[in-house]
């Protein structure tokens, strides 16, 4: 019945742009990219050296409500506006590095598991089960507590405990794709095993991973910020949304005096995560064959 219709790509794009939430997500994402790229122009630089260190503007730790000079206010002597703007870069860095590496590890382990099968598969999948049995946040907390403070430690901890779901996903997809007739046909043609994987299996299994990745960027940024909030993440004064939020822990009983230290970085974080989730959601609808007519 499928006679020639519009090209698949154009159809997908049309569908994408017709989806209001997808457009909203894309716009938000573009906004954050602009903020990240032009951070020096928007918030200035730290003349003392490291740009990711929020410059001190006051030696008193008392919160200062927003003024024209410090539009988002000051907490712990640090300018929140500077922190939020430069924190965008930190968020992208965290999200992309963690997602990228954990997906890489996940794809590698999942593929090995599915390809070799047998006891290799059995052992790898048990390892996945074991890693999944430690709650993600708790595992990351233990890891960062032991490794010590610093953003790099957070990244390592989240990668170590973040690859499992990708591994499971890709393994399942490969096992499913391996039974497809076009894979058997390629085998019958005499195609080499690794070429079958590269040409026939991975192109048909990688999209769910892409969708999953885009959805996970948000949750990694949240977790990293959470660790900073608990004081086991980035160092104090680092341009990171979670770090700014963690200053409020000292003012917990009078948040009305430090509301700006929650509202501004919090809003940035919500919008950032929302952007990725919206995009991921739209991508999933598009790639999910069941959603197509």
């Amino acid at each position: 019945m499928a006679v020639k219709r519009k090209s698949e790509f154009r159809k997908i794009m049309k569908k994408y742009w017709k989806n209001g939430t997808a457009v909203l997500g894309t716009c938000l994402l573009v906004f954050f990219i602009i903020v990240a790229v032009f951070a020096p122009q928007i918030a200035g630089v730290n003349e003392m050296g490291n740009n990711y260190q929020i410059p001190r503007v006051s030696w008193s730790s008392k919160p200062i409500a927003p003024t024209s000079e410090h539009p988002f206010g000051v907490i712990g002597g640090r300018d929140i506006f500077y922190g939020v703007v430069w924190g965008t870069r930190t968020a992208f860095r965290l999200g992309l590095i963690i997602t990228g590496f954990s997906a890489l590890i996940g794809v590698a382990i999942g593929s090995i598991s599915a390809y070799f099968g047998g006891w290799v598969d059995e052992i790898l999948m048990r390892i996945v089960d074991i890693f999944l049995s430690i709650p993600f946040l708790v595992a990351a907390m233990v890891m960062t507590t032991i490794l010590g403070k610093g953003l790099d430690k957070v990244i390592i901890a989240l990668i170590i405990f973040g690859w499992m779901s990708t591994a499971r996903l890709i393994r399942g997809n490969i096992l499913q794709a391996r039974e497809e007739q076009y894979v058997l046909a390629a085998k019958a043609l005499g195609q080499k095993d690794w070429k079958i994987i590269m040409k026939h299996i991975l192109p048909n299994t990688i999209f769910p991973v892409v969708v999953q990745m885009s959805m996970r960027i948000g949750s990694y940024v949240i977790t990293a910020a959470g660790l900073s909030f608990l004081g086991v993440g980035a160092e104090p004064g680092y341009a990171d949304w979670g770090t700014i939020l963690s200053y409020s822990r000292n003012w917990m009983t009078m948040l009305n005096e430090s509301w700006f230290a929650i509202v501004f970085p919090g809003t940035a974080m919500v919008l950032f995560v929302l952007a990725w989730n919206l995009v991921g959601d739209a991508l999933r609808d598009i790639f999910d064959p069941r959603m197509r007519s």
Binding site: R126, D129, L137, M141, G226, I262, G266, V270, D281
Partner: protein
Amino acid sequence: MPLILIGVTLIIFSMIWALGPDRLLASYIKSPEALKTPDAAERLIKKYGLDEPMPVQYLKWLGNILQGDFGYSMVGKKGVLPAMLERFPYTLELTIYAIIPVILVAIWLGVVSAVHQNKFIDQFIRVFALVGWSLPDFVFGLLLLLVFYSLLGWFPPGMVNTQFDLIMRSAEWNKITSMPTIDALLNGRFDIFVDALRHLILPVMTLAYLWWAYLLRITRSSMLEVLRKDYIRTARAKGVPENIVIQKHAKKNAMIPVLTVAGGSVIGLLGGTVFVETIFSRVGMGRFLADAATLLDYWSIIGGALFFSFIMIVGNLVVDVSYALVDPRIRLE
């Protein structure tokens, strides 16, 4: 399952081991009883096998764990295990109060959303859920605290009022379950029960919000898939009213993936108590972990990790069993 337990302890131990013998020794020495004796260092090195290869150390450590010796907790100022057991009921109480409304509301909304796919109500619920899913729990908690305590003064943080707290610490207070709301009822103090509930509202809302956003999404997509199935058409063809088609024929099938996917993840979200208890100054396992992390109290945090992992493993087992109860195709095996 024993395999997984062993694996978990191995992973956690290898993290401890990464500390190196010096820092390990230093951390052991912090326990007050260790400090009483002069040859503490040698004794500890022997006890934990710090001068021996990793497998031996692991076995010694595991042996201690199995005997209930999780080390000394600086946060709890006592052994790690008793400190945790003392705090666990508070977390359990919070979780139970959060989980019941979550499951009911999330499944109900998920079904509504799926049945009215792409209608206004569906779009509304979806956006609501998506925002919920994007809202970090600690940000949401801080905002709630800001609005309902700092600005409006309605719901204070903590467990109970100071005066009630004193009563609860006193000798005549009967500690039966250690869960304030239940103990209050058992002690016949309705006023304390109400007060404890008042303190629970914000934490429960915070914990619940994230959960139900997640559950709702899974329910919705599972329901959408089921509604396309042939047997739904069969049910309609034999004249089953639409609401029974949805509530009975579709929902029971849709719950199968909800159980497997969501069951495990909800247990995983237990981690959320770390933030909730920290923000609302509640005593509990989550707060225990957070404080331990701040104080670099290794033994407390490792004990906490083991504790949470154990709960997660048991929880997954429960999910597997209930899965078989719902799906007759599994029961057969």
